[in-house]
């Protein structure tokens, strides 16, 4: 079972790699829309990548209003 720290770290690694942002530039409290410079379609892409990576289903209403990596990690953690 992953810890919340591990889950958050994996999300940050995945986001950095896919959206080509230096991993060191990302922190758990960051607003990922702003930090990654993504729109809603890219946010859906991130959601899909996270579902595929963690092997979970994350209904989009559960991430409604979520914009920081840490809260995103708690939503995923609840389904692991």
């Amino acid at each position: 079972m992953r810890t919340i720290e591990q889950t958050t770290d994996e999300i940050l690694n995945l986001a950095a790699a896919h959206f080509k942002v230096p991993r060191t530039a990302l922190e758990s409290g960051d607003d990922f829309y702003k930090k990654l410079g993504i729109d809603s379609l890219q946010a859906l892409e991130l959601l899909t990548r996270l579902e595929n990576h963690f092997g979970v289903e994350l209904p989009d209403y559960e991430v409604q209003g979520v914009s920081d990596f840490r809260t995103l990690a708690t939503r995923i953690q609840a389904r692991l």
Binding site: S40, L41, A43, E45, L47, T48, P59, Y61, Q64
Partner: protein
């Protein structure tokens, strides 16, 4: 090789397979331009069908297969006219798009949707006309219409009900959530999942297999197992039009159209 290029899509036929490529930026929104091109395609289908066994639908837009109906166009058109005329226009559009989608649905060809990225609303409804859906692992399927105070209007629910269990139909319709390719495969919506960027290649491989069979036998098998839910499709148009006149719908459309933030495709 036969080829045709329209404003928002193109098609070509080679080795018994027709490929229909959607290509209207940003995400193949289905408005009047796409409808007219689809009507040209279905008008050409009788001649194309005589030379082919399979039809592949796919998108050349990076964002995905299709984000659905062109809500910006719908809102702009509805704003120009008084309510009864707007409703008349909506009904006419729905009648035309249903005619096109029913024609693809009942084509004697074996039809395959190669889906990547967003496959939402009307785009999902277009994919559902196909006999097989090959989903890229990054594909997402969704009926977001309830967020706007509407139901899907291009025949999506009757077609989805024809294919999969009611529990999933209700989940998709009543929560407006999107599902990924793995889930789509698990519930029987997609027949195959492809690696990222590989859905078209897998669809082509599937189409090549289809061309090995006697076309009349394939067509007979399809007619036998895939009836058109005609009565429900008609009732869906009536229900959509009934809901469309409510003020909440225009307000929902206005919010979507005027949303300058990053969220219009999220619930």
């Amino acid at each position: 090789m036969d080829e045709h290029k329209g404003k928002s899509l193109s098609w070509r036929t080679a080795e018994g397979v027709i490929e229909l490529a959607l290509n209207r930026a940003p995400a193949n929104e289905i408005g009047l331009a796409m409808l007219e091109d689809l009507e040209r395609f279905t008008s050409s289908l009788p001649a194309l069908e005589s030379k082919a066994s399979a039809l592949i639908l796919y998108s050349e837009q990076k964002a995905g297969f299709s984000a659905g109906a062109d809500l910006r166009e719908l809102y702009a058109e509805a704003q120009k006219m008084e309510k009864s005329l707007a409703l008349k226009g909506v009904r006419e559009f729905l009648e035309r798009i249903h005619a096109v989608l029913n024609r693809i649905d009942t084509s004697p060809l074996t039809t395959i949707a190669a889906v990547h990225g967003v496959c939402f609303g009307g785009g999902f409804e277009l994919a559902l006309t196909c006999d097989l859906i090959v989903a890229d692992k990054m594909a997402r399927f969704c009926f977001p219409e309830l967020r706007l105070g509407l139901v899907p209007g291009f025949g999506g629910i009757p077609r989805l009900k024809r294919d999969i269990g009611n529990a999933v139909v209700r989940d998709l319709l009543l929560t407006g959530r999107s599902i990924n390719a793995t889930k789509a495969l698990a519930v029987g919506l997609a027949s195959q999942v492809a690696a990222e960027g590989e859905a078209l290649r897998v669809a082509r491989s599937t189409a090549a297999q289809v061309t090995k069979f006697d076309r009349a036998t394939s067509a007979a098998a399809k007619r036998f197992i895939k009836p058109l839910p005609a009565e429900e499709l008609r009732r869906e148009i009536d229900l959509f039009c009934e809901l469309f006149t409510r003020p909440a719908v225009m307000e929902g459309l206005r919010k979507f159209v005027e949303d300058k933030g990053a969220h219009p495709y999220l619930p």
